[in-house]
């Protein structure tokens, strides 16, 4: 995974409410998807609103690429309507008095023609809402409304896309309906995105960079894979602890219904995805609880994916668990094993082991 050397978004805010203080000093990449993750009330939405200019932090320095948007020391504050952002709220918040077309054109016609990089047709096509263009918002389903809201934000050709839990107000089927569209935006548009969520699933599915917030403070900020596998963070201890791997499809074993995926840690077999061409990059999620360790290479096992690894760190978890951080040719992986197994096998940093991966999920 890539890291930007110049880290072009600088967000330093201090903002106090009677019961809560937000204090951040962040450097974020101005590319890919940065996920702001944390429990509700941790300040992630407030942070996003500060970046959009909807909230004015008393102390704030915000620089996006070369442009300063806020500098409280110089009393400079770019009003929200002059910031080149697209904002998607938790609720679709469509203008009820305008049709879908009217909603989409509202922002688009307010930006200069030379700044229009995303055509209305492209936004419609990306979100699959061409057929809804002349409808009024009252006649759309919840999922359709939110897709229109996302297209409306894209139609202003933003330099930065801000999304505040765009799926949180929807039920599970609607969420599954929209997630693929968000993944497409990620792949097809070169717009950096800040994405607020409290859902681990959305983090692993969409994120490139992860910022974890707790009670108004930044607990961690870094590359998604590195941050998810940091043993000093509570996320590595939870049952949801997982790693995200970037792999390349390198072949199919059609007879067995399997697809081969390669990465710098070796080769894995996945359930067949014939539709996916060789060379396609996929994202896999592997739960720490689905990884077990052996000292010798197992000769006879029903588990297909057994990869050589080296233990880099171990840490004691809750309820008799040990959390093991592994390196597979540089790619990090987490394994949850019982403390008893860790003692019996003598697991410690530097030890070469074999990681047996019971299940993978293609994201």
């Amino acid at each position: 995974m890539k890291t930007d050397h110049q880290d072009p978004i600088l967000a330093r805010f201090q903002l106090s409410f009677p019961d809560f203080t937000l204090e951040t000093d962040l450097q974020l990449p101005a590319r890919g998807v940065t996920v702001l993750f944390g429990p509700s009330g941790c300040g992630k939405t407030t942070l996003l609103r500060c970046i959009a200019g909807l909230e004015r932090a008393s102390q704030g320095l915000l620089q996006v690429r070369e442009t300063v948007w806020q500098d409280s020391e110089r009393r400079y504050f770019l009003p929200p309507y002059q910031r080149p952002v697209g904002y998607v709220f938790q609720e679709p918040s469509l203008f009820e008095h305008l049709s879908v077309r009217g909603n989409l054109e509202f922002g688009q016609k307010r930006i200069p023609a030379r700044e229009r990089r995303i055509a209305l047709e492209q936004a419609l096509e990306l979100l699959g809402i061409e057929h809804l263009l002349e409808r009024m918002p009252q006649h759309l389903s919840g999922g359709e409304k939110q897709r229109v809201a996302i297209a409306r934000a894209l139609a202003v050709s933003p330099q930065l896309l801000l999304m505040d839990e765009p799926l949180a107000a929807l039920d599970l089927p609607r969420r599954q309906e929209i997630l693929p569209f968000l993944a497409r935006l990620h792949q097809e548009l070169e717009i950096p995105m800040l994405y607020v969520t409290h859902s681990p699933q959305e983090v692993t599915r969409l994120g490139d960079h992860l910022v974890m917030l707790e009670q108004g403070r930044v607990v961690a900020s870094g590359d998604l894979q590195e941050t998810l596998t940091r043993l000093d963070l509570p996320v590595a201890q939870s049952r949801q602890a997982s790693t995200v791997l970037s792999v390349t499809v390198c072949g199919h074993e059609t007879a067995y219904g399997l697809t081969e995926a390669c990465f710098n840690g070796g080769r894995m077999l996945l359930p067949l995805r014939e539709a996916i061409d060789t060379g396609t990059v996929l994202r896999l999620r592997i739960y720490a609880r689905d990884v077990s360790l052996t000292l010798q290479q197992p000769q006879q096992t029903s588990i297909l994916n057994v990869l050589p690894a080296t233990i880099t760190r171990t840490v004691a978890g809750e309820e008799g668990q040990t959390i093991v951080q592994l390196s597979l040719g540089g790619t990090r992986l987490l394994a949850h094993v019982t403390r008893k197994s860790a003692d019996v096998l003598g697991l410690q940093p530097g030890l070469p082991v074999f990681a047996q991966i019971k299940a993978t999920a293609i994201l």
């Binding site: 959009a52 200019g53 909807l54 009003p79 929200p80 309507y81 002059q82 910031r83 952002v85 697209g86 904002y87 709220f89 609720e91 918040s93 203008f95 009820e96 008095h97 509202f106 922002g107 307010r110 930006i111 409306r152 934000a153 202003v156």
Partner: protein, 225 residues
């Protein structure tokens, strides 16, 4: 049949109500907007003042307006100093009194409409590059249209029916301050009940139709209130 004086009174009343409603919409819109979005602590004082004509006997309001606008009142001295003379017993004085008297009937529906819209559409508009005034005309005004309809109808209808304030401030001058309700009183005092009926029944029918429109034929007018 109505007399010529009756027709003059009807036209004067319509002119008064129309002008008052127009002024109230122009003044009441920014006032209602401010009351909706201001975080100022003293806001409740203004809210109470706006609502005061709802509970105050019209005679009390009329009495104080008479005192204030009279030759010895501060407003009266001011209007005399700038060469307008004194306002009591003139049409202008009646307009000023009506504006105050009908204020809550215009401001409150607007305030309710603005509150129902909330701040979210304003924020959405800002992220879609709309400046504040632009947002007001392109988002708030269309969304608050039912509220404006209610405010207009209530403001107009309420001004039509005023009596106590007119009695105190306006008097009974034909063509200047003699509105329908005064004319009804004149007929009753003269024992001309049939003539009073023409005007009274007209007002009754008109008021009923107004409310019917408000509640029945324009159901959307109430949904946003």
């Amino acid at each position: 049949m109505p007399t010529d004086a009756d027709l003059v009174a009807v036209l004067l009343t319509l002119k008064l109500a129309g002008l008052t409603t127009l002024i109230l919409l122009l003044l009441g819109t920014p006032l209602a907007w401010w009351l909706t979005h201001s975080h100022w602590r003293g806001k409740s004082v203004i809210n109470a003042l706006v609502a005061l004509p709802l509970v105050l006997p019209p005679a009390v309001l009329g009495f104080y307006l008479l005192v204030l606008m009279g030759p010895h009142g501060p407003v009266g001295q001011f209007t005399r100093a700038i060469g307008l003379g004194t306002l009591p017993f003139t049409f202008s004085g009646l307009v000023v009194a009506s504006v105050l008297y009908s204020l809550p009937f215009v401001v409150q529906p607007l305030q309710n409409a603005f509150e129902a819209i909330g701040t979210r559409p304003l924020e959405v508009a800002a992220t879609l590059r709309a400046r504040r005034l632009d947002t007001f005309f392109s988002v708030v005004l269309p969304l608050a249209r039912p509220g404006f309809l209610t405010a207009t109808i209530l403001g107009f209808a309420h001004t039509l029916g005023e009596f106590g304030v007119v009695l105190m401030v306006g008097g009974n001058i034909p063509g200047r301050t003699q509105v329908i309700s005064m004319q009804i009183l004149n007929h009753v005092e003269a024992g001309e009940y049939l003539r009073a009926h023409w005007l009274a029944a007209g007002m009754l029918v008109f008021s009923f139709v107004v409310l019917l429109v408000l509640y029945g034929f324009a159901p959307h007018a109430r949904s946003r209130r």
